[in-house]
């Protein structure tokens, strides 16, 4: 019996090792999205431009105040502009939701394309009136920071030589947001 003690120890240890070796090894996946102050979702993928320029420009002659924004990253560019009449020469901007109308409220989705031997940003489709909106939810005119959302879609239609539609591509720019984004105030006087 005594001779069996040591082998029994070793056997028990080996069984224990086998049991532990087969512990749960399932894969675990986690995704973290950017927390940048300016971001949007372009065709299902999060997009956060590394270059963002925001301006509020006041024209005393026309008494128009215009919020304009350009964000650029990874061969993609999003632009929008909102012009408001009789807004006054203050460093803020009226809160509200502004629907794209093609004149006072515009939006554009550009992609980098080869043109005349150079890569330049060109519109990828057109954004029709009513195809989106920009909402300004907060403005801190002292710190010159603006918060809001935007979304729109851009439609590209390809025609054949006879003018028949070959294909229609829609780019969806959704869940756009800018949070306490700094802007520059310009008086065009």
């Amino acid at each position: 019996m005594n001779k069996l003690r040591l082998p029994a120890f070793l056997l028990l240890s080996a069984l224990f090792a086998f049991a532990i070796q087969s512990c749960n090894k399932d894969a675990i996946t986690a995704t973290a999205y950017t927390t940048k102050a300016f971001q949007a979702n372009i065709n299902g993928s999060t997009w956060a431009p590394d270059t963002v320029n925001m301006f509020i420009t006041y024209n005393p002659d026309t008494k128009m105040k215009t919020l304009s924004c350009v964000g650029t990253k990874s061969q993609k560019q999003v632009l929008f502009s909102v012009a408001v009449a009789n807004a006054g020469d203050t460093q803020g901007f009226p809160l509200g939701t502004y629907t794209v109308d093609g004149s006072t409220v515009t939006a554009q989705y550009n992609t980098q394309q080869l043109s005349d031997g150079n890569y330049v940003f060109l519109p990828h489709g057109t954004i029709e009136p009513g195809a989106g909106s920009v909402t300004v939810t907060a403005v801190d005119s002292v710190k010159k920071q603006i918060t809001g959302t935007f979304n729109f879609y851009s439609r590209s239609t390809i025609y054949d030589g006879d003018g028949n539609v070959v294909s229609i591509t829609v780019d969806n720019i959704t869940s756009g947001e800018f949070t306490n984004k700094s802007y520059q105030y310009i008086n065009n006087q």
Partner: protein, 250 residues
């Protein structure tokens, strides 16, 4: 500093007590009975320390290891009086990356690269065997034996977690990059203190604390061409184990 002095004082007192007892026992020199060699089966908890257990994305040596089980064989062969050569062969499972860990990595890479998004997938667990040997001295007090040991040897790493990282919006790093699973024999060292209680002539119940440290395995990275942020090349191991065991004298 006060802590160190207090601990040193306690150790000195304990050693003095054992020393006095040993002198008492030594009086009948010829009848002195020294400890017998033993082998034991141990099991317990292994806690990762320092970098090994760290979950800091910015620390390239942080291992994200978790508290896990350890078990194995431990024993000693007495070579001169109560001086022995101790040996230990233990297996450790130090867990795997949790969702929070993978999310922390994903957040870290998103920030490091200014990426639009990052997905991190982690697979595999920390599994290794410690194969250590070293001098041991045993202090005997009635039915109790205090074993102090310094150890050195090998650590066989069977696996470490592997991660794959997919960045979005980074043209210079479009490929999924990997921190590969490591497997290696590395040097390790440590020390232990164990207390055994003899409940029969040949059997004891043992409680043991052991510290093990190692520079750890080298880690291979694949497809990581545009290196920014966390980049792991080495995973140091440091663990403290608390184990309960049953030993058999022979």
């Amino acid at each position: 500093m006060k802590k160190i002095i207090s601990i040193a004082s306690i150790i000195t007192i304990i050693f003095s007590a054992f020393s006095v007892q040993a002198q008492d026992n030594d009086k009948p020199q010829d009848n002195k009975i020294y400890e017998k060699s033993y082998i034991g089966l141990y099991g317990g908890i292994s806690n990762p320390n320092s970098n090994y257990g760290s979950t800091n994305y910015s620390n390239n040596k942080s291992g994200f290891a978790k508290r896990g089980v350890t078990f194995g064989i431990d024993g000693a062969v007495y070579v001169y009086k109560n001086l022995a050569v101790g040996y230990t062969l233990t297996f450790q499972d130090q867990g795997k990356l949790t969702y929070d860990d993978t999310y922390a990595l994903a957040q870290g890479y998103t920030n490091s690269y200014s990426a639009d998004a990052t997905s991190v997938t982690a697979t595999g667990r920390y599994h290794n065997w410690n194969i250590l040997i070293g001098p041991q001295y045993s202090f005997v007090y009635h039915k109790f034996v205090l074993d102090l040991r310094a150890s050195g040897g090998l650590i066989k790493i069977f696996s470490t977690p592997e991660t794959s990282v997919q960045l979005t919006g980074i043209p210079d790093q479009t490929a999924v990059f990997y921190q590969r699973k490591a497997s290696a024999f590395v040097l390790g060292y440590g020390g232990s203190a164990g207390l055994r209680w003899k409940f029969s002539d040949n059997w004891t119940v043992a409680l043991k604390g052991a510290y093990v440290s190692s520079p750890g395995p080298s880690v291979k990275n694949d497809n990581h061409t545009d290196v920014m942020g966390r980049y792991v090349t080495k995973l140091p191991i440091s663990e403290f184990q608390t184990m309960l065991g049953l030993t058999l004298n022979f």
